[in-house]
């Protein structure tokens, strides 16, 4: 909880950030989406980015992954500038996203889905070891291995989506709206899965509208409003913050 309030402005502390944005501005045509966005994610952290609709959350994710190139500013991965690098370059070096609504390859088997997560990896024995690790984490997935992913229940699909992301052996996992469009019970499971993965040492960056849920598991968070980071604090402080309560928790 009390790790890093002083390190958000770059590499002030000794450790290098896993993933970092510095002074990022992103435009879609003439529309200015992200405005001087800066934040950093450190190894083993569980952090969240909160924001309402059209606040720039998905653009932030796309910029981090390289689906969108920022107009100015830079993205760092393990201290290396990756602003101009391809998605696969970044995936190979440890960033993966679990997309909103899971987005499994529905017509492919669960096994193929998981193996596609490891598409860029070459070492077979390591891949198999990770597959086993996912089976111990989610035993249900192992039972469904040859089934088409589209035929699984929502909860199982979520496990496969996370398993698929883990198959790329990520250092940091980006979660796009893990509570979006899910039944409350499933949201609960989902966040438990996130904590479970986090306990294995993977840094996690949750992008959410559901501030309560995200802050209940995160160490710290940022609040994005019309493309600008307006709040940056520990999770507890954010939960107590009256401004946040007013704008995101529907109070006041």
């Amino acid at each position: 909880m009390n790790t890093t309030n002083d390190t958000t402005n770059g590499t002030a502390s000794g450790t290098t950030a896993l993933l970092e944005m510095r002074g990022v501005n992103t435009h879609y045509g003439a529309v200015h989406i992200l405005k001087d966005v800066e934040f950093a994610i450190y190894p083993g952290e569980l952090v969240c980015l909160l924001g309402g609709n059209a606040s720039g959350k998905s653009t932030t994710l796309k910029t981090l992954l390289g689906m969108v190139t920022p107009t100015t500013g830079d993205v760092f991965l393990n201290g290396e500038v990756v602003t101009k690098e391809s998605i696969s370059y970044r995936v190979e070096r440890g960033v993966t996203m679990v997309p909103e609504n899971r987005r499994l390859f529905k017509r492919l088997s669960v096994k193929d889905n998981l193996k596609l997560g490891a598409f860029l990896r070459k070492n077979r024995s390591e891949i198999d070891a990770d597959l086993e690790r996912i089976f111990t984490m989610f035993p249900r997935v192992k039972e469904r291995l040859s089934q088409k992913a589209g035929t699984l229940s929502g909860g199982e699909q979520q496990m496969v989506a996370m398993g698929r992301a883990l198959m790329s052996d990520p250092k940091v996992l980006l979660m796009d709206e893990p509570s979006m469009g899910l039944a409350p019970a499933l949201v609960q499971t989902n966040f438990e899965l996130i904590q479970q993965i986090h306990s294995e040492g993977v840094a996690i960056f949750v992008v959410e509208q559901n501030a309560n849920m995200a802050l209940s598991i995160a160490d710290r968070g940022w609040v994005l409003q019309t493309g600008r980071v307006v709040l940056d604090d520990t999770a507890d402080a954010l939960l107590a913050n009256p401004d946040l309560r007013a704008s995101y928790l529907g109070e006041g």
Partner: protein, 378 residues
């Protein structure tokens, strides 16, 4: 996620005039097929039975050998349709549009095969060393048709990637005409012939003791089977194939897995082109005559085969090809002739497209197609 409103509206939807019309069509077509088949059975039992003597007085019935011949020619024809259909289906799967110029890729294969095989024939190798020459001819044709397909994608379709699907579709019709005219400009409008197959190959053969089959048709079946097995291996067992299937389903997520989507699309065109090239050679060997518009009708029929099998589905494309080829060959004599229709063997093409209409009436997604929700096809 949208609530399942559409499901509800479907169950309470009123039956419209169109539904009734479609139902009548279904019943009429099924009835026509079933009655035709029953009368065919009747003719086989007694060519002069009382129904046949009224409706089809010339009825003679088919001998077992004739029937076998129909099935084998249907199979070999269908195998070629299937090979071409794969290209339509794969490109549709990945890009969601019908590449109408694919028939011309097939024509390029057939033309290249014609040129090279005639060169081999001039050198005398076609007769003396047939299998080796065939392998080289196949290789050259595959290279040419693959290059055609890949160039097509690069020049005509890539820029249109983000545009509405109707636009690449119309472009593909333009590409199709362009390639036909290039062929006319380079090789002239007249039909060109393949050299005759060596005698040892073109004679009839006995298989398993009871099937007799023309050598060339046997060759077609063997080469087509090998090509399909190779494709199946590529799609199901290799990394490239896995990437192709992932891109077909969701390009954005595929790219998140680190798959190079552009390269995978090019590979898809290349593989489809190679299959069309193989089909082109087989077509040439079997019918021996090619023109600049050779690609048109087989192209349209292969497209129908892809739709019949369920577009976007590999196995479906093959099954659709064999279904269409088989129907085209068997149905005129078995289902139409008992109705007393004259000149039934001229009706092959009509039969092929009736099969398409019938399948779309009964199972709009095709034989092996899966229902594509709007979510899948976004």
């Amino acid at each position: 996620m949208p609530p399942p409103v559409h499901v509800k509206s479907q169950t309470v939807r009123r039956r419209t005039g169109v539904d009734i019309f479609l139902l009548i069509m279904k019943v009429a077509m099924s009835g026509f097929v079933i009655l035709g088949f029953l009368m065919f059975i009747g003719q086989q039992i007694d060519p002069n039975n009382f129904i046949a003597s009224r409706i089809n007085p010339d009825a003679t019935g088919l001998t077992a050998a004739q029937f076998e011949g129909l099935i084998i020619s249907g199979l070999s024809q269908g195998a070629m349709y299937g090979l071409i259909a794969l290209g339509y289906s794969m490109v549709y799967g990945v890009l969601g549009f019908i590449n109408f110029a694919h028939g011309e890729v097939f024509m390029v294969g057939a033309m290249t095969g014609m040129i090279t095989s005639n060169k081999f024939d001039d050198a005398g190798l076609w007769e003396s060393n047939f299998l080796l020459s065939l392998a080289i001819v196949l290789l050259i044709a595959i290279i040419c048709s693959t290059l055609t397909a890949v160039t097509m994608e690069r020049v005509a379709y890539r820029r249109l990637r983000g545009s509405p699907r109707l636009i690449p579709l119309i472009t593909s019709i333009g590409v199709s005409f362009f390639l036909q005219n290039v062929s006319i400009a380079l090789l002239g409008p007249r039909a060109k012939t393949y050299p005759a197959l060596p005698d040892w190959l073109s004679k009839k053969r006995e298989l398993l003791g009871f099937i007799s089959i023309d050598g060339p048709r046997l060759l077609v079946l063997i080469v087509a089977t090998v090509a399909m097995l190779a494709l199946w291996f590529l799609i199901e067992k290799t990394r490239t194939g896995k990437a192709m299937r992932a891109v077909a389903e969701d390009k954005e997520i595929a790219s998140l897995m680190g798959i190079n989507v552009n390269r995978t699309i090019v590979t898809t065109f290349a593989v489809g082109g190679a299959m069309a090239g193989v089909a082109g050679i087989l077509w040439g060997l079997l019918f021996r005559s090619v023109t600049a518009v050779t690609g048109f009708l087989p192209g349209i029929k292969a497209f129908s085969a892809a739709v019949v099998g369920g577009i976007g589905n590999m196995g479906g494309a093959m099954a659709g090809g064999v279904t269409l080829g088989g129907a085209e060959s068997v149905a005129p004599l078995v289902l139409l002739e008992p109705w007393g229709i004259n000149g039934v063997s001229q009706l092959k093409d009509a039969v092929a497209f009736l099969v398409l209409i019938f399948v779309l009436l009964v199972k709009p997604t095709g034989l092996f197609g899966e229902r594509l929700s709007s979510e899948d096809r976004a």
